[in-house]
Structures are given as structure tokens and as C-alpha cells.
């Protein structure tokens, strides 16, 4: 039972590695953790393109939040 579990974990790890490689090839700028989260969400049925939009939205949001602070010293 434990060996199967470890198998599962290792294969999951492998899959994640592969996906991470692809994501780096495609220059998505996602770290492994975020990627894992995203993959998990996709596995649970989230629309991938929508998720991508979400990621972008969030990135922009974070930038917008950072930018005024940088310029205005907030």
C-alpha cells in the first residue's frame, strides 16, 4: 500500500517536473508551486484558458498594486 502511494507520489512528481519543463519552454514564468496549484485546479475541472486569464489578471493586479506604491511612496 505504501509502495503504491510512493509510486503515485513519484509519478506525480515526474509529471510536475515535465509540466514545469514545458512551462519553462513556453516561458510562462510560473514557479513549481504555482504550477502545481494550477494543475490541481485544472484536474479538478477548471477551464484552463480561464485559469490563464486568472493568472494574468492576478499578475496585473499585483503590478497595479505595486506601481502606485512605488511612484507615490504609499
Amino acid at each position: 500500500m505504501s509502495s503504491r502511494e510512493s509510486d503515485r507520489i513519484s509519478s506525480a512528481q515526474q509529471t510536475l517536473d515535465i509540466l514545469h519543463d514545458i512551462s519553462q519552454l513556453l516561458n510562462t514564468q510560473l514557479d513549481k508551486e504555482t504550477l502545481a496549484t494550477c494543475v490541481g485546479m485544472i484536474e479538478s475541472g477548471v477551464n484552463p484558458e480561464a485559469l490563464a486569464a486568472v493568472i494574468q489578471e492576478l499578475r496585473r493586479e499585483s503590478q497595479a498594486l505595486n506601481a502606485p506604491r512605488n511612484t507615490n511612496g504609499r
Partner: protein, 850 residues
């Protein structure tokens, strides 16, 4: 699900970890976005990704790696939605990083900042992320500027509008925005004017481009105008016509190009929505026509148009051969394009020239209605043809009776006809150097000219058109003449020239027996027939001593005929003898027969081309001089015989023996003088010149011009040497006059000697009768008394004899001296002959000493 989303929000937006409201807001927003769906197709997606990767790094390494990774991923059992994951990654990859520094200088152009607190109010269509992404990536500064212009209300004129105008300009039509100014320049140069429209601006670089393009249009207008102008006009030369034709063909090509360009432009226009210039630009960049592309297309034609325009400019002033020449001037160009174009043009343009040339070269016809050929015909002489004299066929009728009978009228007729021969040959056709195409070369031009002239001459003057026609037929089998085959042309010219000149020689020497005539002239007029001359002189001299007005032509001709009959001259062909005539020149009061008598040789067409009237005058001059010499010689030898014979037999007056001796010395000197002159004339001048002429004739080379020339040289040489003409201007005839003076002196001397002889004769008779009287025979009693006063008379006579003798000596001495420094070598040799043992020099020295 919300929790995972929340954790995602937390990791990506660190601020949200602390701010609950923000976190909830973002989460809700994200959830809303996530409610979309796309159906999966992993193969297609992989392709899309691969293409994307290829774009970013074309060497294919990343693509390969991706394929590898993908296959491994597909092996993994863990994920149930691999496609979704890939699609997610791809979506992220396609969307690039947001610009790190939003452009600061045009805030209005910056992407609108996302509304932070109103997530739903901004449905930025998450399913289609490309437009904003594209807008962020593709905007160059130029585009930004254009957009700015559009906003400020001064947009640039869109290119396809300009393009349309430019296409019009290429055809010389003014467009809407750009047009040609009405021509104010006298040269017809148009200026390009851009319509000032405040709503539209045409940028300067575009203007420059249009200017470049419009040059072609401008040149086109010129060429087209030229062609149109020539088309409607009459009397345009054939060469010009063919130039026009060639230009027209070229222009048709040009139209074809324009049509192709136009169709290309119209497809682009209909294919795009013209309202959005950006869009048009994007499309045009890919497929359609732009100004720059147009420029490239036209480039070739620009050069061609320039060449054509130059030709057209040149064609205004030039005509015919000169035009060909002008075009040929451009053929020597290092640029293969220009060379090829010019060669083509020349090939086309020179066709009429070559057809004229062919006709001229092979049949001697000048078919040149617009006088473009380098041979021009004198219109007055063009249709002048000879009617051959009736007796010319050599039927042997000696008497072309009118020649002997009619005195005045016939001579006039003859001279009128004579004028024609040489004049016809020399001035019927004229060589026009400026019309000669340069590729033919002047030497060949002359040859062509001469060949055609010869053929023409054979055909019309020598009535030998059959031969020419045969030749023409033969020549037609050989290839045509054309520009590209200059070597062949030169060959044909050479052959034609040779054949024509040979034929001309044949005609002259065989059909018209020129050589016989030349010989006859030499024999009769230059006294080559000694027996004939002696005979003539013997029979004529009694009548020639009488005054000129007592002479009658029929007597002269009768004498001439008897002289011919009684000498070897009777063996000459009747055609020659028929032409020989004796007549008197114009005489004035007091002249005697010797002064006015002359032989004459009549020539007719076409021989008179060589023996032109001028030449005949020279022959007569020579005859006159030689005849005089002959007369002096005759006189002297008669006198000598009388003296020598008489002195031995009945002139026995011992006290006058010394005088006789002196007379014989002087007479011997005179005989020497006249014999040397005669020998010099016959041997050194006439025969030598004849030899040169004969050699030329034997060679049978060259054309009629050369023949005329060589005969002229022959004659001039004789005239110069026999008449001892000196090259000094104004004193040419000094020596001749001196020689003539000497002749007069000799005649006077002879007269005085005759007187002395008569005196001696009577004196001897008186003495004889005296002696008879001593013996008792009274024979001449009365006579003896008549001669009583004779001792004074003999003094007078002897004085005359001595005076003439010494003046002869003096004159001869002067002549010899003059001859010694004569410019002509042969004349100097005559001096040597005359003063062979330095006779005159020693005498001069004696004189100087005394």
C-alpha cells in the same frame, strides 16, 4: 475549490494575504472568469504550441524538446486533464509579459489601466486574449505617430490613394492629389504639383518617391507625343517611321506593365475594408502594391524610357542616316542593358536603311523617297539619259557624215552632249557624309557609293541593264543585309564593289573600246604615228603658210584623209578614224594656217566620262605644241638638206664659205635643240606616262573614279612636262614662252638663211655666167647686171642671220639654265640632254671671261 483559488490568489497577490476584502473580491472575480469552457483536442494544441515555439526560436531545438516532454507527459497516468494543463500553459505563453515600463510620453496611447475595484464592469473577453496583447506588442513608433495624426485631424493620405494617382501619373494623366502643371516651359517640361489639401498631408519621403516615379510618366508623355505627332504627319522618313514603330511596340509593353500593376492594386483594394487605413497597410504589406514596390517594378522602365526619350529628342533634329547614326552613338555603352536596348532599336530602325542599301548596292537604284540615304541624287540629272549616237554600234560606217559636213551646228551639238558625261557621273549622285551611319564606316560608305554609282552608270548610261538585272537576281539569293551582321555586310559590299568595278572596266574597255580611243589619241594628237604626221605635214604645209582666212575646212579634211590613206593609220579601226577630224580654231586677223590648224578627236557618251571636254582641250593644247615642234623640225631638216646638198654642188662662192660654215654650226645647234626636245617629249614624257596608265588599265582594279583619275594624272603629267610648266604661280608658262620665242627665232633664221641661199645661188650663177662670158658664152647677161648692188644686200642678210643665230644661242642658254633648276626632275634631264657636254656652261663661262 474556492479555498484552492484563495490560496492561488494569496500566492500571486501577496497583498491579498492580509486584506480579506481584497482576497474575497479577487476570488470571486476569478471564479467568474473560470466559468468558461473549451473542448479539448491535444493534437491540435500540440501543433499550435509547436508553431509558437518555432516562431520564438526557429532552430527547432525547443520544438524537439517539447515533443519529447509531451510524449513523456502523455505516458504519465497521474493527470486526467493533460490537455487542459497544456492549454493553460499555452495561454500563458502566448500572452507575453506586460510591458515593464508603460510608455510615458503619450499617456493617451497607453493601455487603459485595468479597473481595480470593478472587476465585472470590464469584461475584457478572456476567451480572446489576443487583441490587447497584439496592441501591446505591435505598435511601432510610426504607428503611434500615425494614430496621433489621425487624432489631431491631419492624417497622411493613405497610400492606396496616392498609388492610384501615381499609376495615372505613369500614363501621363494628372491624378486627384498629384497632377502635372500645364506646360509653361518651352521645352514642354512639366512640373509636378501636389494638391494642397489641409485634410490630407503627403509626407515628404512619399513626395520624393512620387517625383521619381513621375519622371517615367513625363518621359512617357514625350515619347508618346512624338509618336502621335509622326503618325499623323506626312513626309516622315522611313527610318523615322520605323523608329516610331519600335517606340510604339515598346510603349505597348509599357501599357501591359501598367495594366498588371493596376490589377494588382485593385485586388488589394477590394479585398480590404478601406475605412481602416491601418488594416489596409497591414494587408498591403503582405500582398499588394506599394509605392516602393511600384518603384522597383518601374525601375527597368525608367532607363528604357530615358533612352527612348533621348532618341526622340535627337530625332527632332536628325534625319535618315543621321538618325541611325545618333542612335548608334548610344550603342557603345558598357551597360549591357543600354547596349541591348540600343541594338534592338538599331536593328529595327536600320531596316529601311538596309533595304535602300540593298537596292543601291545590287542594282544601282536609289529608292529613297524621303532622302534619308547617304547618297543623294541630283534631281535635275536624275532622269537624264543618253540617246546613243546612231553610228555607235560599230557598223563601220566611216562617215557619220554630219561630223564632216555641218560646220557650226554639229559642233555645238557635240559639245552640249559632251558636257553631260562627266558631269552626269560626278554630280548625279552625291555622297552625304553626315547621313552615313557610323557603323558602316566612311571607307565602306565610299565603296558603297561608288558601287551603286557604277551600277547606275552601267545601267543608264551604258545601256546595260540586262547585266544589272541578272546581278540583282543573283544577289537576292544571298542573305539580307542587316545591322547585326556587319561583317556579312562588309563582305557583300566588297564583292559587290569588285563585281561592279570589274564590270565597269569590261564595259569601258570591251564594249566601248576605251583603250583604242586612248591609243588613237596618243597616235594622232600626240603624234605617235610618225609617218602619218610627216605625211600630213608635207601635204598641209603649203596651204598652212597662207593666211588663216583662206583655208577651208573641206580642204583640210580632204588632206587629212589622204594622209591617213597614205600612212599606216589606214589600218586603224574605222570607228577610230571616223572620229578624227581636222579643223581650224578661232582665228584673228593676220594669223596664218599654222597658228590655227588643229586635229580633233571626237568622243561621245559614255567614253566622254573619261575623256571629258576639259581633257580634250588639254589634248589639243599638247597637239598644238607638238605640232609646232614637228613643224620646226621639219623646217630645219629641209633647210639643212638644201644647204648641205647645195653647198656641195652649185653654191660655189668661195669668199662666203666661212659664212656658210657659221650658218651650219648654228643650224646644227638648232637641230640638236629641237631633236632633243622632241625626243624628250616622245620618250620620256608620253611613253612613260602611257606606261603608267596602261599598267593601271591592265590591273582592272578600282572603279570609274579611279579610271578617270588615272587618266587625268596621265594627261596632267604630259601637259606639265611637255609644256615645261613650272609650279611657280603666275610664271607657269615662262619657259614655254621662251621656247616658243626660240621657235620663232628659228623660223626667222631659216627665212634669213633662205634669203642668203638665194643670194648665193644667184651670185654663183652670176659668177658662172661671168666665167662663161670669159669663155665667150653669154648666158645670163641681163641678170648679172640686175645684181650689181648685191654686196650691200648680202651684208644685210648676213647681219640678220648672225643676229638670229646669236639670239637663238642666248635664248637657248637661258632656257637651259632655267631647266637646270626646274622643279621637275624630267625637265632637269632635258637640260642635261640639251647641254650634254656642258656645252652651254662652257660658253657661258667664255662669255663671262670675255
Amino acid at each position: 475549490m474556492p479555498s484552492t483559488l484563495e490560496s492561488l490568489v494569496c500566492s500571486l497577490v501577496p497583498k491579498a494575504r492580509n486584506d480579506v476584502v481584497l482576497r474575497q473580491e479577487l476570488t470571486e472575480h476569478c471564479q467568474e472568469i473560470l466559468r468558461q469552457n473549451v473542448d479539448p483536442d491535444i493534437g491540435h494544441l500540440a501543433d499550435v504550441i509547436k508553431r509558437h515555439l518555432l516562431q520564438s526560436s526557429p532552430n527547432g531545438v525547443t520544438t524537439l524538446r517539447f515533443t519529447n516532454l509531451l510524449s513523456r507527459l502523455l505516458d504519465q497516468p497521474v493527470l486526467s486533464r493533460k490537455h487542459a494543463s497544456l492549454s493553460f500553459l499555452h495561454s500563458l505563453a502566448v500572452s507575453p509579459k506586460p510591458p515593464s515600463t508603460p510608455s510615458a510620453f503619450l499617456p493617451s496611447l497607453a493601455p487603459p489601466p485595468p479597473p481595480r475595484h470593478s472587476a465585472y464592469s470590464n469584461p475584457s473577453t478572456p476567451a480572446d486574449p489576443s487583441p490587447p496583447a497584439k496592441a501591446q506588442k505591435g505598435k511601432s513608433k510610426a504607428e503611434i505617430l500615425r494614430e496621433y495624426r489621425r487624432k489631431t485631424g491631419h492624417p497622411h493620405l493613405s497610400e492606396h490613394l496616392i498609388l492610384r494617382d501615381t499609376l495615372y501619373l505613369l500614363q501621363g494623366i494628372s491624378g486627384k492629389y498629384v497632377h502635372f502643371s500645364p506646360s509653361t516651359d518651352p521645352n514642354g517640361n512639366n512640373e509636378l504639383i501636389f494638391t494642397d489639401d489641409p485634410r490630407y498631408l503627403i509626407p515628404n519621403p512619399t513626395k520624393a518617391l512620387i517625383h521619381r516615379l513621375a519622371e517615367v510618366g513625363h518621359l512617357y508623355m514625350r515619347v508618346d507625343a512624338f509618336v502621335q505627332e509622326r503618325e499623323g504627319k506626312g513626309g516622315v522618313g522611313m527610318i523615322e517611321q520605323s523608329l516610331c514603330h519600335h517606340l510604339q511596340t515598346q510603349l505597348t509593353e509599357y501599357y501591359r506593365l501598367i495594366a498588371v500593376l493596376e490589377s494588382q492594386m485593385s485586388t488589394t483594394n477590394t479585398g480590404t475594408d478601406a475605412t481602416d487605413p491601418d488594416d489596409v497597410n497591414v494587408r498591403e504589406e503582405e500582398t499588394g502594391l506599394t509605392l516602393k514596390r511600384l518603384d522597383v517594378w518601374i525601375e527597368d522602365w525608367r532607363l528604357r524610357m530615358r533612352m527612348m526619350s533621348v532618341c526622340v529628342e535627337g530625332a527632332r533634329g536628325a534625319h535618315g542616316g543621321a538618325l541611325v547614326n545618333l542612335i548608334h552613338g548610344y550603342a557603345d555603352n558598357g551597360d549591357p542593358f543600354v547596349r541591348k536596348f540600343t541594338d534592338q532599336l538599331l536593328e529595327e530602325v536600320s531596316k529601311p536603311f538596309f533595304s535602300t542599301l540593298h537596292k543601291w548596292l545590287f542594282s544601282g537604284e536609289l529608292n529613297d523617297p524621303f532622302s534619308e540615304f547617304f547618297v543623294a541624287v541630283d534631281p535635275e540629272l536624275a532622269h537624264l539619259q543618253y540617246v546613243q549616237p546612231g553610228g555607235h554600234d560599230g557598223s563601220g560606217a566611216l562617215a557619220n557624215d554630219s561630223g564632216f559636213g555641218g560646220f557650226g551646228g554639229d559642233a555645238e551639238d557635240l559639245s552640249a552632249e559632251r558636257e553631260g558625261g562627266l558631269k552626269l557621273w560626278e554630280s548625279k549622285h552625291q555622297f552625304r557624309k553626315e547621313m552615313l551611319p557610323a557603323f558602316v564606316g566612311e571607307v565602306f560608305g565610299r565603296k558603297i557609293f561608288s558601287t551603286g554609282k557604277s551600277l547606275n552608270f552601267i545601267r543608264y548610261t551604258c545601256q546595260d541593264s540586262d547585266w544589272v538585272a541578272t546581278r540583282e537576281k543573283l544577289s537576292n539569293t544571298g542573305g539580307t543585309l542587316k545591322y547585326s551582321d556587319i561583317a556579312g555586310l562588309e563582305r557583300s559590299i566588297d564583292t559587290a564593289y569588285q563585281i561592279a568595278s570589274q564590270r565597269l572596266f569590261e564595259v569601258f574597255f570591251e564594249k566601248y573600246k576605251l583603250l583604242d580611243h586612248l591609243q588613237a589619241l596618243k597616235h594622232y594628237l600626240l603624234l605617235g604615228y610618225g609617218d602619218f604626221t610627216d605625211q600630213l605635214m608635207e601635204t598641209l604645209s603649203p596651204s598652212l603658210t597662207r593666211p588663216a582666212n583662206t583655208l577651208y575646212r573641206h580642204n583640210l579634211t580632204a588632206t587629212l584623209e589622204s594622209a591617213i590613206r597614205s600612212s599606216n593609220a589606214q589600218n586603224d579601226p574605222p570607228d577610230v578614224l571616223r572620229r578624227l577630224d581636222a579643223r581650224m580654231m578661232e582665228y584673228s586677223h593676220g594669223e596664218i594656217g599654222w597658228d590655227v590648224f588643229t586635229l580633233e578627236y571626237k568622243v561621245d557618251s559614255p567614253i566622254d566620262t573619261v575623256l571629258d571636254p576639259e581633257a580634250m582641250i588639254k589634248y589639243l593644247k599638247l597637239f598644238n605644241h607638238l605640232w609646232k615642234i614637228k613643224r620646226i623640225e621639219n623646217t630645219l631638216s629641209n633647210g639643212w638638206m638644201r644647204i648641205a646638198g647645195g653647198a656641195r654642188t652649185f653654191l660655189r662662192v668661195p669668199d662666203l664659205d666661212h659664212e656658210w660654215h657659221q650658218i651650219r654650226i648654228v643650224m646644227a645647234e638648232m637641230i640638236h635643240f629641237i631633236r632633243q626636245i622632241e625626243a624628250y617629249c616622245q620618250l620620256e614624257v608620253i611613253e612613260c606616262s602611257w606606261k603608267a596608265l596602261f599598267e593601271f588599265v591592265q590591273k582592272k582594279e578600282g572603279d570609274l573614279d579611279a579610271l578617270i583619275e588615272s587618266h587625268r594624272v596621265y594627261l596632267d603629267r604630259m601637259v606639265k612636262k611637255i609644256l615645261l610648266l613650272s609650279p611657280k604661280a603666275g610664271r607657269e608658262e615662262n619657259l614655254l614662252n621662251q621656247v616658243r620665242d626660240v621657235f620663232t627665232i628659228i623660223l626667222q633664221f631659216r627665212e634669213a638663211t633662205d634669203d642668203f641661199y638665194n643670194y648665193c645661188l644667184s651670185e654663183a650663177a652670176r659668177r658662172d655666167s661671168e666665167k662663161d662670158a670669159e669663155r665667150g658664152l653669154y648666158t645670163y647677161a641681163e641678170r648679172a647686171t640686175d645684181r650689181r648692188y648685191n654686196p650691200e644686200a648680202v651684208h644685210d642678210i648676213l647681219g640678220r642671220v648672225r643676229e638670229y643665230g646669236s639670239s637663238f644661242s642666248d635664248r637657248t642658254q637661258t632656257i637651259v639654265q632655267a631647266l637646270q633648276v626646274h622643279a621637275d626632275l624630267d625637265c632637269r634631264f632635258l637640260a642635261v640632254r640639251l647641254s650634254f657636254s656642258d656645252f652651254y656652261r662652257t660658253r657661258k663661262e667664255q662669255q663671262q671671261r670675255s
